[in-house]
Symmetry: C2
Subunit: 236 residues, 2 copies
């Protein structure tokens, strides 16, 4: 990407591999990064610690953690007592929407990002959704992101005043391996991130949920060890 | 409206005049009403008490209050130290977006409603936005609502599975007087509601903010006294 004049952008940062890579890409493109994370009752709240560490390591301009509780609604393995599925086949990308889908989660996340962007007078929001590895979530598809962007431009002061607001999803057509290569090129320290839906108390990834399996497959394809597994002595 | 088979709908309920009327309209149309309110750091938190009272009086099936804090972002008179404007002219509907605009508020509200609708398997969401009296908020316009609905159908399980999800804004073309007439027809008790942006400790409306002035003008046009003013002995 070309270097642009420095300007603010809101980056949704979960502390996972994808959003950490997006943060690095946004900074490379010359944006002043304002990271936004969510404490929404997820069972893998470890994410938030990792998000803080990642944000600090990246030297962001600001980091906001928004608190709300999606558990009141139920409906997802990530926010309720439903078990996280393990060791399921990932070879069927067109299969049903999995139980780890959190209803309208990305829509809620983007809406808070939109609010912060308006206050910051930022015209750019970054989100790490990914269509190839998207694991069946409707709100990770390109047509969803485009539609959200159209809506956002009607919803806000920026849109009314003719300043276009863009939702960037730079990973949307990349494979996990391609994402990792981008991150490694930019010097991302993936040992700081967490991808697991069901980590241990010490942050150790389970190695068996969809997210762990997709991550392992990505590092395997790149041909480098996952520094997170090395950190926990899990690289066999 | 015709009577339909009973089915769930999520109704955004602030406890104000408009959303209370919308709740009555949704119930008249045969929906099982699930009311949703927000505790977001608004200075007029009295709204929430009124929303609870209204929901109870209407006999809703469920009422969820979602907590989050928009004050961290600032940017609006309704969530920060900026003064609520009083006694300003309301005769210029095309004037600038007022300081009481809360960035992306309706987008955030609708996004939580969308999450709850998915869990309830509801295909209908009601919101009390109103274009004629809309006071300059971009996220009260018809084109915004239509755009949100398109996005919502791409964001969710319902959309993927071919069940259309509708965002209803039944007040969008009505004047305040027409809204009040609809409510009175349906037996709404407007003394339970609160519209003021800056009420007193006892819930007494200030009478001078945009919202109080629009409400007063509406009752004047209908030719009936506002029962809320009567409740506080403010009907002169």
């Amino acid at each position: 990407m070309s270097t642009r004049a420095s300007r603010p952008a809101v980056i949704l940062l979960s502390g996972g591999l994808d959003s950490t890579t997006v943060l690095a890409l946004a900074q490379e493109a010359g944006y002043d990064a304002y990271a936004m994370s969510f404490n929404y009752g997820q069972r893998h709240v470890l994410e938030l610690e990792r998000a803080r560490t990642v944000a600090q390591a990246a030297g962001v301009r600001g980091h906001t953690v928004v608190d709300f509780d999606l558990r009141a609604f139920g409906g997802s393995a990530l926010t309720s007592g439903i078990a996280v599925p393990k060791d399921r086949l990932l070879d069927k990308p067109e299969q049903d929407i999995p139980v780890t889908y959190v209803p309208a989660r990305n829509t809620i996340f983007l809406s808070f990002a939109l609010a912060w962007a308006e206050v910051l007078q930022a015209r750019d929001i970054f989100i790490g959704v990914n269509a190839l590895d998207y694991s069946g979530y409707p709100d990770c598809r390109p047509e969803y992101i485009r539609s959200y962007e159209l809506m956002a431009n009607l919803a806000t002061r920026a849109g009314v005043e003719g300043r276009h607001l863009a939702i960037h999803a730079p990973l949307i057509t990349l494979s996990k391996a391609e994402i990792i290569r981008e991150g490694l090129r930019l010097g991302v320290d993936y040992s700081l991130t967490s991808s697991c839906y069901d980590p241990g108390q010490d942050g150790r990834p389970c190695g068996h949920c969809d997210s762990c399996q997709l991550r392992a497959r990505g590092f395997e394809e790149v041909g480098v060890p996952d520094p997170l597994l090395q950190r926990y002595g899990m690289d066999s």
